[in-house]
Each structure stands twice: as structure tokens, then as C-alpha cells.
């Protein structure tokens, strides 16, 4: 890690910390705005773990018995544990950067588990939990953050597109893919295909996201737009992007938009299943706003204390996505302490594997720089590679390096 890493200026930089102190009214307004999802929030499990019936969505989770719920619980615990491990490894200098998903486990696991194998997912850069549900080995994902690779899994096998860092780009790519599903006649019945596309609250301002809405609407693409509104785009609250709740954006395009409690794995599963069904049957697209919270920093190079209050975090801790499932399972007798302990132990092993793998990752060889620039070789580039490799060889021979 270079010392100039972009969030570590030399200390004593003056008054910005003060600027980060909002007024008491701002505190209250902020807490209200970010922690209440509003009347139209779809919730199936309260923060206290109470199951709330939903005439509209219960049927989408009718098959989720205690066993299935325990699996969702397990998924979330594993994903969180891996996230924390990676975060720690970044602190230890093993990763260049980490993008934590802490707090967004329900949104990611719930929506990811709603997908059928034939469905396709287009992530942004924080969707480690979705990756996991698509069967991507988290070890294949860590190279991005260790900076040994730009991407690492088999996209076709997992139907999980590479991470996309440029905000909004993947939304159009997903729209194109979904159009392809339609053109191939894979839409129309229960066995149909659909695509899901992930992006953040900040991303909704980008032209590409709008164009994705336009294209998907005009081509009736089987595409679920899954917006994780985690209340923040780095230091900017959602109010910097929109006057209205984001799910209402869909109103202007003529397809449904819905807000789901993004910390409620059951609701996320149900609503996403519904949306995918709509798409599968030719009634796409659909916009889902999963109302959630980014409990950690934007990335490991970020310092949220400069722009938000810890009160806000405390407020959201009460809505923790994992705790409510644990409470529900414990209270309903679905799982005892043994189960929770087992899951925790499994999670520790899971994290340990990730750690072992990370510490032992080989450095990529220099010639990798020149690989796969094109599918068909370029003589000019080949010459550049040869020249550089022989230059490097020169050092090796001379023993200078």
C-alpha cells in the first residue's frame, strides 16, 4: 500500500471535521429521513423479528419454511463474516482496498436467492453477497481487491457479470442482455429467463441508468432494476440525488416501482421473486428500491465520521438484517443456540479459507499486462511485449534488480 493512498492525507488538515458537525435539526431530520422507509415499504419481518402478513407477497415465500429461513440466515452470516475478514485483511495490508457490504446482507442474499439458475445478474462493485448466492467462490473475487486482477470468475457458468465500477454502466449492459433474452424467445412462461441489475442510490442520477430505464421499457426487457438505497453515495445523502423516494422514479417510465425493506431478507426474497416472475412472463421491467443502510465506510479508504453521525448508525443497528432473522428463529423455536453456534463456526472457517487463499495468492506475471487486450493478436502489441520482456530479462541477467 503506497503511503499516498487517497484517504490518508497528512494529519492536521484543519477545519473539515468541524464542517462535518450538523445542527441538531439536521440530526433529527437526517435520522428520520434515513431510517424510516415510509408507508409504502414492503416488510415481512419486523426489526424485532415479527412476521407481518402480506396479502400480496406472502405467496412468493410460501415455500420458505424454517429450514429455508435458516439457510438464508446462514447465507447472511457467512457473507458478513467474509466481508469482515476482507475488511480486516485490508487493514493488514493484504488488500489494496475493500468495499464493505455490512448492513446490506439481506438486500443481497434475499434478491440473489430469488434468482433462478437461468437468470443473469449484473452487479455493481459491492455485491459480494449476490456473488455468493450465484455460487461464485469468494476467493475468486478477492483478487480484484488485492489488485492482482480486474475480475475473476466464470461469468457464463455463474450467470454473474463482472463487477462494474463506473457508476451506471452496468445498467445499460444489463438492459442489452435482457433484450437478448427476449429476442431469443426466452421470455413468456414459468421457465423463462430474467435479468437483475444492481446499482446504488447515487447511481440513479447517471444518464446511463435513465437510458437503461428507457431501453428496458421500450423493449419490454425482462429486467429487474435493483437499487440498493443505502442512504449514502460516499458522503452524499440521497437528498442530493432526488426529491422523491427512488422507487417512484419508475412512474415516469410506465413500469412498476416498489420499495422493500432492504434489511428484511424475506421481503427482499418475496419482492424480487415477484419482480422476476413479472419479467419472466413478459411484464418487465420492474424497479425495486431496497431501503437499507451502509453500516460501514464507503470503502476502506473512506472516513464516514467526516460526513455522518454515529447516531444514525446506532439507529440502523436496531434494524440489523441478521438479528431480526435470528430473533424470529429463536423466538419461534425454529433454531436453538446450537444452530447459531454452528453457523458461526462455519462462518469462521469460511473466513479462514478466504484469508488463507488471500495470503497465498501469487503475484501476476508481468506479461499479464499484455494479455487479452484483443481477442485476435496484434503484431504491434506483441512487439511491445517482447521488447519489454527482453528489457526485464536484461535486468535479470545483469542481476541488477
Amino acid at each position: 500500500m503506497p503511503s499516498e493512498q487517497w484517504t490518508h492525507p497528512e494529519p492536521g488538515d484543519g477545519p473539515a471535521a468541524v464542517a462535518a458537525q450538523p445542527s441538531p435539526e439536521q440530526v433529527i431530520a437526517g435520522l428520520r429521513a434515513t431510517s424510516e422507509g415510509g408507508a409504502e415499504l414492503t416488510q415481512l419481518l419486523t426489526p424485532e423479528g415479527q412476521r407481518v402478513p402480506s396479502a400480496r407477497f406472502d405467496r412468493y415465500v410460501a415455500d420458505v419454511d424454517t429450514e429455508a429461513l435458516k439457510n438464508l440466515y446462514r447465507d447472511m452470516v457467512l457473507v458478513r463474516r467474509a466481508d469482515r475478514e476482507a475488511n480486516a485483511m485490508q487493514r493488514q495490508g493484504q488488500l489494496g482496498i475493500w468495499v464493505p457490504l455490512l448492513g446490506q446482507e439481506a438486500a443481497q442474499v434475499g434478491s440473489g436467492r430469488a434468482l433462478q439458475p437461468q437468470d443473469m445478474a449484473f452487479p455493481s462493485y459491492r455485491e459480494h453477497g449476490v456473488a455468493y448466492t450465484r455460487g461464485v467462490d469468494m476467493r475468486d473475487l478477492i483478487g480484484i481487491f488485492r489488485c492482482t486482477d480486474h475480475s475473476g470468475w466464470d461469468y457464463q457458468a455463474h450467470r454473474f457479470h463482472p463487477y462494474t465500477i463506473v457508476i451506471g454502466n452496468q445498467v445499460l449492459n444489463a438492459a442489452g442482455y435482457a433484450m437478448g433474452q427476449k429476442f431469443e424467445g426466452k421470455v413468456g412462461d414459468d421457465g423463462g429467463e430474467a435479468t437483475i441489475c444492481y446499482f446504488g442510490d447515487g447511481a440513479t442520477s447517471q444518464g446511463d441508468v435513465h437510458e437503461g430505464f428507457v431501453w428496458a421499457a421500450v423493449y419490454d426487457a425482462p429486467l429487474v432494476f435493483f437499487c440498493q438505497n443505502n442512504q449514502w453515495a460516499i458522503s452524499e445523502p440521497t437528498e442530493r440525488q432526488s426529491r422523491l423516494p427512488l422507487y417512484q422514479r419508475a412512474r415516469g417510465y410506465g413500469f412498476p416501482g416498489i420499495r422493500v425493506d432492504g434489511n428484511d431478507v424475506l421481503a427482499c426474497l418475496a419482492v424480487t421473486r415477484w419482480a422476476l416472475e413479472e419479467c419472466r412472463h413478459g411484464n418487465g421491467p420492474v424497479l425495486i428500491e431496497a431501503y437499507t443502510y451502509r453500516m460501514d465506510a464507503h470503502t476502506t479508504t473512506d472516513d464516514p465520521s467526516r460526513y455522518r453521525l454515529s447516531d444514525e448508525l446506532e439507529e440502523w443497528k436496531l434494524k440489523d438484517p441478521i438479528e431480526r432473522v435470528r430473533a424470529h428463529l429463536a423466538r419461534g423455536g425454529g433454531a436453538g443456540q446450537d444452530f447459531f453456534d454452528d453457523v458461526q463456526a462455519e462462518a469462521d472457517r469460511f473466513a479462514q479459507q478466504l484469508r488463507d487463499h488471500t495470503f497465498n495468492m501469487p503475484e501476476p506475471p508481468p506479461e499479464r499486462i499484455f494479455s487479452n487486450v484483443y481477442a485476435e493478436p496484434s503484431a504491434a502489441l506483441d512487439a511491445q511485449r517482447e521488447e519489454f520482456l527482453s528489457y526485464l530479462d536484461g535486468f535479470a541477467t545483469a542481476g541488477e534488480h
Binding site: D149, Y155, Q156, P162, V171, L172, A175, G176, D208, N372
Partner: protein, 329 residues
């Protein structure tokens, strides 16, 4: 052998048709490419014959066109996007440079990007702003893209098919001024494929000096060579055809013979393709050059009102003037 006398525009049209017949995964997408056949009529008749799911009149947004083409390519399609005029490619710049150019590299080759972006480019049609530019150098600078251009009907017919067959993303620059030029109609053997279109080709041999050009400037170079011949100067003319990666072997060879090089392009010269040609030639042919590589290009200004374009665009006189300067250096 099926010989057809074709304009460049018609040759591309026919090449697109062949490519669509050959592979059902080939799609045409863009603004007005369907019923209208494009504002230049290059996709004329294709929607009628291949249907609306293969020839798509898209919503009006270039990032959308290219961004969805990327997704369609991930799905296994081979999209051919039309950008209506080169001046309107910029809203799509981000998808081109961030996704189209990089997905193959990013995924270590696991995702192929067989997307062709057709761009009518260049001036000389008496148009309003944004309709006459030559932005190809910008794309030549972006690694991961291939950039090509054609100057005649044979290359146009075969080149578009070669581009569509390629698994790499290709920016295909078409000399709009020449699309419908009857004078440039050529007999095209539509059955016997050439080995490879996108390599540089000597299109006229000579010994006094070399002129390298591409797209619409090839005609200017050839006209200049014809005029120079009358004055007893023998110009060798090279059509680059591939702009990135460049294929400069034939240029080096020629310069080693003539000792002089003039690079012609309608684009501004600053940090451009012609800069690159000069930079590489001065390095590779350092001891062969009898005078510096000279460039005849658009000026380093925005494209002027088109009443002034005859001054802005390289023409026969400016090329000959550069040849003279080179000879008298």
C-alpha cells in the same frame, strides 16, 4: 464470380446484408436505421428483410445504443451499431472506453466483445456543426479497441464483413462524403474474399515520396499522385485501412525507399494518428528519412462553418505543396 458495380455506400449495405445472412446473431442497431434505412441509407432494406428484432430503431441516446450493444454481445449477439454522424458519438464515449474496450481484458478473455460501431465521418458535405468531424484519433488512443477505415467499395464490402466476424470491438469509420459518389463506383467481386482487409496497403507505387492516408483522404492522396505524375514526381500512396493497432510495416518499407513521408488526414494534427505515424516513422526510419515527416491535416481548431471547409480540409494542392516542401527541405 459475381461482379457488381457498387458505390461505397451500397457496398457497405450489401456487406451488412451478407453478414446478416451468414450469422443470425448479427443485429443492426441505431437511430433511424430501420424504416428510413439510416440518414445515409446505408441500412436500406435490411429491416424489411430481416425484421424489427434484427434491425432496431433504438431510442435516441448513444450511450444507450452502445451500452445495450455491450450487453447483447455478452449474451452472444454480434451488434452492429450505427452512430448517425461522428459528432454524436461522444455521449457514448464512456461505454466505449470503460466497457466495450476493456471487458475482454478485464475478464482475461472470458467475455468477447464482437461489436462493430459504424461511424460516418469527415467533412466536405456542406453540413452544419457536428456533422463533419474526424474523431478517430481519440479511439486510436484507447487500448482494447480496433479502429479501421475504408476508402473504396471493395474494402467497404469485405471490410464490414471482416469487422463483424471479428471477436474484437471495432470502430468502423466510413467516409460519408464518398458514400454515394458515382465516380468512385467499383466492380466488386462479391464472392472471392480477400485474405485480409485491415492491413495497410500500397495503393499506388512510386519512388519520389510516400503519402500515407486513410478514409476520405486516400482519394485526395491518389489525386495528388496523379497530378504529381504530370510534373514527373512519382508518389507512392499507402492506404492505412487499420488505424489502431497500426500496421506501419508497409509505410516503413516505403519510406526506406523514398526517404520522404507525408501523412494526410482531415483531423486536427495535435496528439493524433498522424502524430503517431510521424513518431514511429522517425524512429524506425531514422537513417532513411531525407526530410522530416510532414503532415497535411485539418487545423487545430473546431471544424469551421462549412463554407470554409475547402480551406480546412487537406486537398490536392496542400498535399503537393507538402511534397514540394519535403523535396526542398
Amino acid at each position: 464470380m459475381d461482379l457488381q458495380k457498387l458505390t461505397i455506400g451500397k457496398a457497405i449495405n450489401l456487406g451488412l446484408r451478407r453478414a446478416m445472412e451468414a450469422d443470425p446473431k448479427v443485429l443492426i442497431m441505431g437511430e433511424d436505421v430501420g424504416k428510413l434505412g439510416g440518414v445515409f441509407r446505408i441500412t436500406d432494406g435490411l429491416q424489411k428483410d430481416f425484421g424489427e428484432q434484427r434491425v432496431l430503431d433504438t431510442p435516441l441516446a448513444e450511450s444507450g445504443i452502445i451500452g445495450t450493444a455491450v450487453g447483447l454481445a455478452v449474451r452472444g449477439f454480434r451488434p452492429v451499431c450505427e452512430i448517425q454522424f461522428e459528432g454524436f458519438i461522444f455521449p457514448g464515449f464512456d461505454q466505449i472506453s470503460s466497457q466495450l474496450a476493456k471487458l475482454h481484458y478485464r475478464t482475461q478473455g472470458k467475455i468477447k466483445m464482437p461489436v462493430v460501431i459504424r461511424v460516418p465521418f469527415g467533412g466536405g458535405i456542406g453540413a452544419v456543426e457536428h456533422h463533419s468531424e474526424s474523431p478517430e484519433s481519440l479511439f486510436a488512443h484507447i487500448a482494447g479497441l480496433k479502429v479501421v477505415s475504408v476508402s473504396n467499395a471493395v474494402d467497404a464490402y469485405w471490410g464490414i464483413q471482416e469487422a463483424i466476424r471479428s471477436d474484437d470491438p471495432i470502430l468502423f469509420f466510413e467516409p460519408k462524403k464518398l458514400y454515394h459518389s458515382g465516380a468512385l463506383k467499383m466492380e466488386v467481386d462479391t464472392e472471392t474474399a480477400p485474405e485480409r482487409v485491415f492491413s495497410s496497403a500500397v495503393v499506388r507505387s512510386g519512388s519520389t515520396a510516400t503519402v500515407v492516408a486513410y478514409g476520405p483522404s486516400v482519394k485526395v492522396a491518389l489525386d495528388a499522385a496523379a497530378a504529381a505524375a504530370d510534373e514527373g514526381k512519382s508518389l507512392e500512396v499507402i492506404d492505412l485501412r487499420t488505424l489502431s493497432p497500426l500496421d506501419l510495416g508497409p509505410v516503413f518499407e516505403s519510406v526506406r525507399k523514398t526517404g520522404r513521408l507525408i501523412a494526410v488526414s482531415e483531423a486536427p494534427s495535435e496528439s493524433s494518428l498522424t502524430s503517431e505515424i510521424a513518431a514511429r516513422v522517425q524512429q524506425e526510419c531514422f537513417y532513411s528519412l531525407e526530410s522530416p515527416v510532414l503532415r497535411v491535416t485539418g487545423f487545430d481548431t473546431p471544424y469551421p462553418p462549412s463554407k470554409l471547409e475547402e480551406h480546412y480540409l487537406p486537398d490536392l494542392d496542400r498535399v503537393l505543396h507538402a511534397v514540394d516542401r519535403s523535396l526542398s527541405w
